[in-house]
Amino acid sequence: MQFGFLLEQVVNGLVLGGYYLLIALGLSLIFSVGGIVNLAHGAFYALGAYVSVEITKYLGFGSAIVLSPIAVALLGILFERFILRRFYDADPILSLLVTFGLAMVTEQAIRIIWGAPPISAAIPQAFRGSVFLGDFLFSRYRLLILAVVAAVLLGVWLLLHKTSFGRVVRAGIQRPDMVAALGIRLQPYMTAIVMLGVGMAALGGAFFAPITIVHPAMGAEIITVAFVVVVIGGLGSFWGVVLAAMLVGVVRGITIHFAPAAGEASIYVLMFLVLMMRPRGLLGERIEKFE
């Protein structure tokens, strides 16, 4: 009996972890390639949510899920071209400051465009309710999120490991100077990676808009969890982030099941324990950019 419910919490935690993954993976990628700790990542998540609500009004939910991340990813190009590019070789503190500033500017812009009160969004009728497998319960909508996250994850993995694009990016992460010596310009690759990361954050925002409150400060809320995930997983490690996201989701679910009061603290305790044992995160190898 108890076991069944526990399993339910574990699976639910995995789904939630998958959702954290969308945001954390982009954060991790942008860090790996450009050495930028992008504090504006949450702002793109919020933009993704707002833009998707706007698009849903005219074209429906399905289009919003596709178009909103694309629209925000296009903004990401401008972000890379006019802001990030100046800070790849600079002191990391500068990029921290500038992306933090951008996060605040974006939040304020959202406030000006859409107003401070939250805006409303709802799940399309087809995805409401739960799916049962015997006594085992799933939210239909979260199943959809899980499927999309799995597809995105597979896509990104294939992109990084099975294409020439991916080979250059990975080489660029390891040995930027060597790649340059081979006559390959890393610049366009960085633009593409930033676009990809920002787009994933926006996709997360678009997916969560119907089940969470859409308000200007939503980006600031998610960025903390995303950082915890990246730190636990190990900066720059693809599978580390995947593992950490799942772990964070499951640990939170189980803690809430047995000790609700510790639910929100659990992920920070987890981070603390992991960092005690592995200061570079679960699968992190090196933190070269900071050394």
Binding site: L16, A122, G129, P210, I211, I213, I256, A261, G263, E264
Partner: protein
């Protein structure tokens, strides 16, 4: 000369010396032709969404008062800031009184922040109108002479919804699970809910305390399903309510969801088809009376959206304060307290007038239960609620739904 009076004299002398030494700039400011009033509401965090409505309401009231010549010919200088959290709220309140020369304070939605501002008010002997905080304790065991309470307390919200639920046969013999905000307000509301359940033959089979920064409720919802209740009862606050209701609709449980606390701003943020059940409210923009309609029209014209209940309460509170200062011709705390303690009646845009009870400083007024309009019957996205009959019913004394002197342990020091 007795020893007592000599000490008093010494104290007064010291106070006078202190004031003339360091306080003179404050006195000079106070004599300027403006009346400084401090206003604090949370604009960030889980109450920030409704706080932003509160700030619009107070701005409109101040502009109207100033446009019509101010109070006794003096313009209001409104200092309206984000109270952030209890610690920042009390720091800002202290600063507004000490450095900015505020003659009184008002505002706040968080019961936790309101409590710290109440303590600042008492220490500094300045009046504070707590506009949006609902914890019973604030007007109960934590009450003080300088603090007034405008919103309905938790007990009234429980009574307003409870009465409606009883009429639907949803209480007697039913099993409840509650989801409660984990801070003073939630604890207080849970206490009132428990009292209501045990008085009405209902059982509480599970209660979850939920931190105010939680945005994903799915692990809690799985626990709710495990308990298999007859009714799920939401005692959350601010953003929490919006998030819970959205995710409750997502999971599509068969158990009806009701709640003892909701602000219409949070309901508007939920999205179509998510909210159902019976909830309490202190005011709604469709209330059918001339004063209310005029206010709604002016507000909607100015801001392009209807006022939320926190916009209304800040608006009427500043108007009451202005009336009090005008009629007493004073901004002194003692004069203002005496004015309100006379139980002066105020038009608060409801069917019946309201007044502050002399012994616990609670604004006694009507409350309303509401249900949700079926889809398709809504004129616009703000038109989603159907108000029930005012509680208490017409003809009954307003005070019947408020805690009595024996239930409310308020003991003000003179």
């Amino acid at each position: 000369m007795t020893r007592y009076s000599r000490r008093t004299l010494l104290k007064a002398g010291a106070a006078f010396a202190g004031v003339s030494a360091i306080g003179s700039p404050a006195i000079l400011r106070a004599q300027a032709a403006r009346i400084k009033i401090g206003h604090l509401v949370p604009l960030t965090g889980f109450l920030g969404a409704i706080g932003s409505y509160a700030q619009l309401g107070v701005k409109m009231a101040a502009e109207e008062i100033n446009a019509s010549g101010g109070i006794m010919g003096k313009q209001i200088d409104l200092m309206s800031e984000d109270s952030v959290n209890p610690a920042t709220a009390s720091t800002k309140a202290q600063r507004m009184i000490e450095q900015d020369g505020a003659v009184l304070l008002f505002g706040e939605i968080s019961s936790a922040s309101s409590l710290t501002i109440m303590q600042v008010a008492e220490r500094n002997k300045k009046v504070f109108f707590s506009t949006g905080a609902r914890s019973d304790a604030l007007r109960g065991k934590d009450c003080n002479r300088y603090s007034f309470h405008c919103d309905i307390p938790n007990t009234v919200m429980v009574n307003a919804v409870g009465t409606a639920l009883k009429q639907k046969g949803m209480v007697k013999g039913k099993k409840f699970v509650t989801l409660t905000a984990d801070y003073i307000f939630g604890h207080d509301l849970l206490k009132a809910a428990k009292a209501f359940f045990s008085a009405n033959d209902a059982t509480l089979i599970g209660d979850e305390l939920i931190a105010t920064d939680v945005t994903d409720f799915s692990p809690y919802l799985l626990k709710v399903r495990q308990a298999k209740p007859d009714v799920v009862c939401c005692n959350l606050a601010g953003n929490q309510v919006t998030n819970l209701v959205k995710q409750y609709a997502e999971f599509g449980f068969p158990y009806p969801l009701v709640g003892f606390n909701l602000n219409t701003g949070d309901a508007w943020a939920m999205g179509e088809g998510n909210l159902s059940g019976t909830w309490p409210t202190v005011w709604y923009h469709t209330l059918d009376n001339p004063a209310s309609k005029a206010f709604v029209e002016a507000f909607s014209k100015k801001y392009g959206k209807p006022p939320e209940n926190h916009a209304w309460i800040e608006y009427i509170t500043l108007k009451m304060i202005a009336q009090a200062i005008t009629e007493t011709k004073s901004t002194e705390s003692d004069a203002l307290i005496a004015y309100f303690e006379k139980q002066t009646q105020f038009d608060i845009m409801k069917g019946r007038k309201g007044y502050f009870r002399s012994w616990d400083h609670q604004l006694v007024q009507e409350a309303y239960p509401f249900t949700v309009k079926p889809k398709g019957e809504m004129k616009d996205k703000w038109d989603m609620l159907v108000l029930g009959n005012a509680v208490p019913a017409a003809g009954a004394e307003l005070e019947t739904i408020y805690p009595t002197k024996t239930q409310n342990p308020c003991n003000m020091k003179a």
